[in-house]
């Protein structure tokens, strides 16, 4: 059973939201609604998140991704649609039950950390447990544990304003982990950090995830981050989910011009894997032959960025092996270069609708990559 399921979520701000939802369902565009002073922030969003998965929602600012996230834990009530968490419909809960779910099962990490400046690091990390009503000694022990997990042991007595941004976000993460919630909602959690720290945090999150196997919904506007972290990625634009799939799905098969333009500056060498570009080995050659000739042996999950060094010393194809060590394919040098050169099929064009303000994705992506 999936852990989290969103079914046709709508969020409309402004007057007569229900009517607006009916119009949207009937095919009216959100720009026509805006003339009446209603804003459709999220339109017909549906997805499922499996246990232990990192589900990334990616989109530029104003695309509705934060609104979507806040509907998942009931901070915002959907105008229409349902959120099922472990089969329980969150939208049908009373405020008190909803608070109880939030306090025990869902926790959240914020973009600007949202640490309480009047509480020490330890008290911040213990906040969720305090809300649950855990006695002081136990909650402080568990909070200290969570801080250790995020690499902040020894900082318990410090105050948030004494920590660097990265450390503050580790406190935020520790606060979210301390409650032992199954679902972690992360709202652009690493966007406010320096590129190097951000990378560190991403690594740490992946590391933690291997051990803790939480279910994570991660919001970001950074495609590279999405590609790095996401088991599945949903790309949002103007309140709608325009494509869902794995990183490679999106990179290799962008569903429309928008996604294509979005991904054009992505460092493909880090997203594409050997498995996705490999060719079948020449017929008649044995695995031993291929392995002996190959400058390196990789798995199908290896990013192609790691193939450059072997190719610098040899012209032979790199062997891709399966789980049993058998050769499942090869990547010749030409294929690698061709894969890198495969720009998205559609050139980015001027948006035909003058009143939608989509910042040029090229710039956004460049900045992120330069940083990363």
């Amino acid at each position: 059973m999936s852990r989290l399921q969103a079914e046709h979520l709508y969020k409309v701000f402004g007057r007569r939201p229900d009517q607006a939802v009916r119009k949207l369902e009937g095919g009216t565009h959100r720009d026509e609604l805006r003339a009446d002073g209603t804003t459709a922030a999220v339109i017909d969003a549906s997805f499922t998140v499996e246990p232990g998965q990192i589900f990334v929602v990616m989109g530029l600012s104003g695309s509705g991704k934060s609104t979507l996230l806040r509907m998942l834990n009931g901070l915002l009530e959907p105008t229409a649609g349902r959120v099922l968490f472990d089969g329980q419909d969150l939208t049908a809960l009373s405020p008190r039950d909803l608070r109880s779910v939030r306090s025990n099962k869902i926790s959240m990490v914020f973009q600007h950390f949202a640490l309480f400046p009047h509480r020490s690091v330890l008290e911040n990390a213990a906040y969720g447990l305090e809300v649950q009503g855990v006695p002081r000694a136990e909650r402080e022990a568990r909070a200290a544990e969570a801080l250790e997990l995020t690499g902040l042991a020894g900082w318990e007595k410090s105050w948030p304003d004494e920590l660097s941004g990265g450390m503050q976000q580790r406190v935020g993460l520790a606060r979210a982990l301390a409650t032992d919630a199954d679902l972690l909602l992360m709202d652009e959690s690493f966007s406010a950090l320096d590129p190097l720290i951000r990378r560190d945090m991403q690594d740490q999150l992946l590391e933690l995830q291997k051990r803790l196997k939480k279910t994570i919904v991660f919001i970001t506007h950074d495609l590279n981050e999405a590609m790095r972290l996401g088991d599945r990625i949903a790309v949002m634009r103007d309140g709608e989910i325009v494509q869902q799939g794995t990183a490679e799905d999106i990179l290799v098969r962008p569903s429309n011009d928008y996604v294509a333009s979005f991904i054009q500056d992505v460092d493909r060498s880090r997203v594409l894997t050997a498995g996705s570009i490999m060719e079948a080995p020449e017929t008649g050659r044995s695995d031993e032959d291929l392995l002996a000739e190959a400058p390196a042996t990789v798995t199908s999950e290896t990013p192609i960025a790691e193939l450059f060094t072997p190719f610098s010393t040899s012209g032979a194809a790199v062997a891709v092996t399966g789980e049993e060590g058998d050769v499942i394919g090869v990547v010749p040098r030409e294929r690698l270069l061709a894969a890198l050169g495969e720009e998205p099929q559609v050139e980015p064009q001027e948006d035909p609708r003058p009143d939608t303000q989509v910042p040029a994705p090229r710039d956004e992506a460049k900045k992120v990559i330069a940083g990363a």
Binding site: S100, F110, A114, H118
Partner: protein, 719 residues
């Protein structure tokens, strides 16, 4: 546009409230008065220097060594200005008003922060509270709650509330919404979001609001003083209306010391109560390099111990001291047996003089006295309500006509003690060629076209405006500018006599003058008999009658023969107010020339056969048996001039102890001052007054005849 009768609706509402909801006002008055009395008993009860020590310990706790020393010096200074009791009364008023304000303002602010509708509904209300001139609700406050602390506290609460509400709302609204969201995301209930996140983070702003509340409360004490709330405010009000600059400055300094103390302490309180404040303070302390000890602050427990120890010592001394005081009071002259008599006066010289004379007389007879300086409106309303037992300076039939008309049902006119008087215009004597009202015509330029009047509340101002100017053809040329009796006289005092003619302030001034001798003859025919027939009895022209129990009346001679008190133009007038307060004695000579219309009847208040006179108003029960000033059967046999004069009872004798032992009693013993600072000067003055009285009234006497048929609008309460 149709004239909206908004004002009369308000008046109707006020009348209705007064007659139907008395119990609410009485309840509020009881609660507020009780709170004030309790706080004042604590603050004012201790030995001043010990109390200053307690304040200093609090300053030490909150701010450190140097502020503590400054606090002690400041409060010691207040004590040495002889303003300690007043300062503590003011502090009590501020504390009571601030506590009530905060108790109301903070929850209201929280409510407004959580509910935009409440916020927008509150905004105009707060605007009204903040900008409506305080007098507008102060005077109804006096009507509802009477003269005293309550209207002052209420006016203060109304005025000080808005910043408390606004800053609370602002503080909560400006808490980072992401933090509130974070709290909600972790399942915090709204109540806990408030207490765990919003309030702690808003606390610095709320504390700034509380600081403003307290400062505004302090700034209202002077206005509270006008409604009869005691303390520094009353002192300042009395001083400025009597132009006693020195006393005003002293009281002002005391207010400033209180203000600075309260400001710094509430400012620093933030560092103790809010975690954010503690963090900031710890940083500052860590950053200090030199003079680290000045940043040392004792812990809360240490400070509490200090306060408690000092308070216990103060309390102990207080108990010891009060038992001493009681022992010395038992006295044969204790006719009043500590009953309290409240007197009120308008800051007019003859009113001040007679009131303080009465104070002395009553205190000698064992009464406790309370004296409040008030504007005419609150004064009449206070007497009518019974907050004030009597006032001596009621000018009828003209000047205080409006008040008399409104309150005569609740007042007893005990007769005139001084008269006939007249209302006149005066010019400085160095102005040549102007000897009567008619001479003023065409001279408007010389006087800037202004006639400086007295208080706008005085009826004579209207008469002057409506009638006199017209009658004498001065309309258009002169404007009557309202002022106050003392400030009207002030520029004239400033004028150097040696610069006649074109000197500054050459204006005709309106004065209430009593001296017939100085009056200039003038064609006043147009004035005489214009006003309605007189109402007073008038048979006792020279002295007022205060009933002292059944059938007894004390004649108070205070006529012009008394020579001293309250005669504005004779240059020698002593001012009991100033003598009492220890500042300079009698004012400088004020040479004036009176421009009177008629030498027999006066100018503005003439009634045929019934001259204007200063009257003595009492609240009804004093006229009856409910609260006699002396017990029946006591007679004062001789004048009060000598030490140890006798009071003869019908069946026993009392010796009257006087406090001017050793003071020379001969007539004309001017300039000799007895030792006591305050009482001495007062007694000097009293004796001066009394000795001139003796020329025409050889003795005080109790009249044992039945009370003359006093014209009473309401029957006496009993007996």
């Amino acid at each position: 546009m149709p004239r909206l009768s908004f004002g009369s609706w308000v008046e109707d509402a006020v009348d209705w409230l007064q007659s139907n909801l008395t119990w609410i006002f009485d309840f509020i008055k009881t609660v507020l008065g009780g709170m004030y009395d309790g706080v004042n008993a604590v603050l004012g009860g201790g030995e001043p220097l010990l109390m200053a020590g307690i304040f200093a310990v609090i300053a030490f706790w909150l701010r450190g060594v140097i502020p503590a020393v400054a606090t002690f010096v400041g409060f010691a200074l207040i004590d040495s200005l002889a303003l300690w009791d007043e300062a503590m009364a003011t502090l009590s008023l501020v504390v009571v008003a601030a506590v009530i304000t905060i108790v109301i303002a903070v929850p209201t602010g929280i409510w407004a922060a959580r509910n935009s509708r409440v916020s927008s509904a509150l905004r105009p209300v707060l605007d009204v509270m903040q900008t409506m001139p305080a007098f507008v609700y102060l005077i109804p406050g006096v009507m509802f709650f009477g003269v005293g602390v309550t209207p002052g506290v209420i006016a203060t609460i109304v005025f000080a509330m808005p910043p408390g509400v606004r800053m609370t709302e602002l503080g909560i609204r400006q808490v980072d919404s992401e933090l509130v969201e974070a709290a909600e995301a972790f399942g915090t209930s709204p109540k806990h979001t408030l207490t765990r996140v919003q309030l702690p983070l808003a606390l610095p702003t709320i504390m700034a609001g509380i600081n403003q509340v307290i400062m505004l409360a302090l700034s209202m004490v002077v206005i509270g003083g006008m409604a009869g709330a005691g303390g520094l405010g009353e002192k300042v009000y009395a001083a400025i209306t009597q132009l006693q600059v020195g006393l005003a400055a002293e009281s002002g300094i005391a207010v400033v010391i209180l203000a600075m103390y309260l400001d710094r302490m509430t400012g620093a309180l933030n560092e103790r109560v809010s975690p954010l404040g503690r963090r900031a303070a710890a940083k500052v302390a860590a950053g200090a390099r030199r003079l680290k000890f000045t940043h040392y602050k004792p812990g809360t427990a240490v400070a509490m111990t200090g306060v408690v120890v000092l308070a216990l010592v103060a309390g102990g001394l207080n108990i010891a001291g009060s038992s001493d005081a009681k022992g010395s009071q038992a006295d044969a002259s204790d006719v009043g047996q500590g009953q309290k008599i409240n007197m009120g006066y308008i800051p007019w010289d003859e009113g001040i003089a007679s009131t303080f004379l009465w104070k002395e007389i009553l205190e000698q007879r064992g009464y406790e006295t309370g004296i409040t300086q008030l504007d005419a409106g609150p004064l009449y309303s206070g007497v009518a309500r019974g907050d004030i037992d009597f006032q001596t300076d009621s000018w009828l039939p003209t000047t205080h006509k409006d008040y008399w008309d409104k309150y005569s049902d609740q007042l007893d006119d005990m007769g005139a003690w001084y008269g006939p008087t007249s209302l006149e215009l005066t010019v400085p004597s160095y102005v040549k060629g102007i000897d009567s009202l008619e001479d003023l015509k065409g001279q408007g330029k010389k006087f800037d076209g202004k006639i400086i009047g007295i208080e706008a509340s005085a009826g004579m101002m209207g008469t002057l405006n409506k009638k006199v100017l017209k009658e004498y053809g001065l309309e258009g040329e002169y404007k009557v500018v309202s002022s106050s009796t003392s400030s009207m006289l002030q520029p004239r005092e400033r004028d150097p006599e040696r610069r006649p003619g074109q000197g500054a302030g050459r204006r005709p001034r309106l004065a209430e003058e009593e001296r017939r001798s100085r009056r200039q003859a003038g064609p006043g025919a147009g004035w005489r008999g214009r006003l309605a027939a007189g109402q007073g009895r008038g048979q006792d022209r020279q002295h007022g009658l205060l009933p002292l129990g059944r059938g007894h009346r004390l004649h108070l001679p205070l006529a012009e023969h008394a020579g001293g008190p309250g005669i504005q133009d004779d240059g020698q007038a002593a001012r009991p107010g100033s003598a009492l307060h220890g500042s300079r004695a009698g004012p400088a000579r004020r040479p004036v020339r009176l421009l009177a219309a008629d030498d027999a009847q006066g100018l503005l208040g003439p009634v045929q056969g019934q001259p204007h006179r200063s009257r003595f108003l009492v609240r009804p029960h004093l006229a009856g048996a409910e609260r006699p000033l002396v017990r029946q059967g006591h007679r004062l046999a001789r004048g009060p001039q000598g030490p140890g004069q006798e009071v003869q009872g019908q069946d026993h004798r009392h010796r009257v102890e006087r406090r001017d032992d050793g003071h020379p009693q001969q007539e004309g013993a001017q300039g000799v001052r007895p030792g006591g600072r305050v009482q001495g000067r007062l007694l000097q003055h009293l004796v001066d007054a009394a000795s001139s009285v003796r020329r025409s009234w050889p003795r005080w006497r109790w009249s044992s005849r039945r009370a003359a048929p006093a014209r009473r609008r309401s029957p006496p309460a009993a007996g």
